[in-house]
Symmetry: C3
Subunit: 338 residues, 3 copies
Amino acid sequence: MSVNFALSEIATYLDAEIRGDSELRITGLSTLQDAGEGQLAFLANPKYAKQLSETHASAVILSADKAADFKGNCLIVKQPYLAYARISSWFETLTLEPAFVHPSAVIDSNALVSNDVYIGPNVVVEAHAQIASGCHVSANSYIGARSTLGINGYIAANVTIYHDVRIGEQVRIHSGCVIGADGFGIAPKPDGSWEKIHQIGGVTIGDDVEIGACTTIDRGALSDTKVGDGVKLDNHVQIAHNAVVGDHTAMASYSGLAGSATIGRHCIMGGDACIVGHVTVCDNVQLTARTLVTKSISEPGSYSSGSTPLMTTTEWRKNSVRIGQLDALARRVKKLEQ
Amino acid sequence: MSVNFALSEIATYLDAEIRGDSELRITGLSTLQDAGEGQLAFLANPKYAKQLSETHASAVILSADKAADFKGNCLIVKQPYLAYARISSWFETLTLEPAFVHPSAVIDSNALVSNDVYIGPNVVVEAHAQIASGCHVSANSYIGARSTLGINGYIAANVTIYHDVRIGEQVRIHSGCVIGADGFGIAPKPDGSWEKIHQIGGVTIGDDVEIGACTTIDRGALSDTKVGDGVKLDNHVQIAHNAVVGDHTAMASYSGLAGSATIGRHCIMGGDACIVGHVTVCDNVQLTARTLVTKSISEPGSYSSGSTPLMTTTEWRKNSVRIGQLDALARRVKKLEQ
Amino acid sequence: MSVNFALSEIATYLDAEIRGDSELRITGLSTLQDAGEGQLAFLANPKYAKQLSETHASAVILSADKAADFKGNCLIVKQPYLAYARISSWFETLTLEPAFVHPSAVIDSNALVSNDVYIGPNVVVEAHAQIASGCHVSANSYIGARSTLGINGYIAANVTIYHDVRIGEQVRIHSGCVIGADGFGIAPKPDGSWEKIHQIGGVTIGDDVEIGACTTIDRGALSDTKVGDGVKLDNHVQIAHNAVVGDHTAMASYSGLAGSATIGRHCIMGGDACIVGHVTVCDNVQLTARTLVTKSISEPGSYSSGSTPLMTTTEWRKNSVRIGQLDALARRVKKLEQ
């Protein structure tokens, strides 16, 4: 797993101005605080600027203004955080196996699997599924009937993809994910029991999507549930049937869309932020952690609800009980005003 | 996957009054908005009534009052949504395999597996487990020792059922589910560490239950955790040890019951609604999204807490900081009144 | 599965004073309410004290003060709940298989697997992984490259452990868990799309840790995500990249730490309690259910936010709408005071 690059190679890749020893060998990435011999660090967040003078990093990625006072080896770029992100791929520790189909994999004779893919042990690929060139499907994962995986897809171990799921190119899906399970469709019967609504739509996922561990994307009731290009989903996210996630939207852990909810392009949902069913959120909206969107949003901006200040439990009890008296309190104030 | 039914066949099944071309061939289901040639749509939600005049559906399921103005082929029923639910099963896209035990499945010689079941690749069935007639256990799932699965059960891929779990008839369990893991039982030790409480109860699940993806139902500490008949659970639901879910109760995504909590029959829990430990909720209760039930409920009805109005983050910050001052504000109002 | 111990054996193990028939055979554990012939119950919670006179338990674990009025067989200890926890291990229903490597397991020739371990069907162990003495790895689980599992570890079925994950001794990991998936690291690009930050750190987990079903612990961005000794995690917990969980901290269902959040030792997080990114919580803190920690906590104690009183939905609507008017209300009160 040892890697070793010249600082000059990295500079070229990042289109960075190099200052110092361009022949320096870089063997790892680290933070300013933790970096040691051979490691490249970066300064992106101004609050860590003071660590610059004390870092043991062999070189630092930073912006021109921060470089002025720095004596060490450095790579000067406009966006240090983005530069760090880009170079991080050179230090990836996940080793992708060469193309190979493990003999224990169970691949239906009607599946269409490219020659240059890796299919790990105990992977099951059902009839008419398609796995395109460059894909890596890890151990114990399941690809349902007629589902398609675009080029260079990465499916981690223990992933489940049901039938009729269309996945774009360069998509990464982490372990425990379930794509295409039945949406939660039930109709009440006169006797108070529930009739299942069979979920006959599928799921469509765009290109360059990444899906975190234990995230679920349900199949549509009639038409497809849709996840756009460049969408990034964290762990434990829930995308219900017929929800739509716009291109390049990012959703943090536990955030979710209820049935037929739509979120636009370039949005950010904080942790545990949820959108109720049949509601639409426009492009360029940020939802802070815990926000519950109960009505449509048509103006870009940042929206919130639900999260309240942190206090001691004793203080919280005193204050929260007042929430239940708030309407009465407001009426009392109105009376006083009169 | 192509299906094709005469409108008259569908009418008979739904006990519907048919109007128009009874020989019409129906090849799919869709919404009024998206339906095309050969497709059957439905009108259930009055807010979509205006789509009726513009639909390209070949036929529509609707109620008598809505049918009055409609010129196209239609099926007239009392409950269009329920009728749609019922007919949806005719268009299911999941193909159940014929009875077969895949040679890669590992079935203990002391397991009791009916002849007419499907056991997919890499399924593991432990000693004394029982799989009844008509069951379908998909690839890479695990059935623990002494656990029983009633007739016509459907277990999707990558499901885990621990030991001593009793599952009724016609139960569907989606991928990523874990039934019977240890409940969260720990006792504090004098040194501040925790002693594990071994969870020696099991899980009992009734008939006609459906369990969504990545949902967990823990085994009981001493006696069983219980899920009644006709219960419908969405994805990411958590049922803790010794919780009880009454018959025909539906729980949306992220909703949960803490240890020994009980919810009655015919209840509905909205997304992220949770009931704390040892609390009891009676029959016919609805809990709106995000509600936290901290005390028992003994009267049917709809209950709420926690979810607040949505606003811009700027507005929210101004208002939410006041929540921390609410007790003081109430006292100030009282003083003014005096 | 039938067990049978003399009451005297149990007394010795628990260092309990025995009163009554020391030769009594105990065949199971139960609650005071449900216990029958041959069963041992316990009285820990004072609210169940009245059940003592009516129990059909053959013997009861209780404290000296409660034993005074009790005529039956009993074991007198200082901490009945802890004593029950300790003896529960004698009644565990999970049968661990003897050491054996199932022939369907796929173990890389460069993996280091002790002789006395159980490796179930379809388990995959990648190159340079290490599985120490006494471990039990259940069916269909996956152990990534270079990951290590300390002695007497228990990995349930369908668990995923990525590469470079270091797990201590006596650790139990339940089904559906994903340890070491990529943290949610993305950097914005000028065009509004996201650049992936490759997650090159690992995960370090201490000794005596238990991890509930469907819980996720992400790998670090640069250095490791860390979970201390004796930590107990419930189901659906999320530990994001570079988060740190201190020794002997317990986290209930749906609780989570965002990226680089730190919680100290001996803390308790209630259900759905979350700590936002880069925030630090000190030792000996309790967070009640639903609390969102948005700033660091440096004093031990109990903290809360977010959870409000439960009321009918009608009442809630009236009150919650006032939350959006709270800042204005406070200003009005101020004006009245002037």
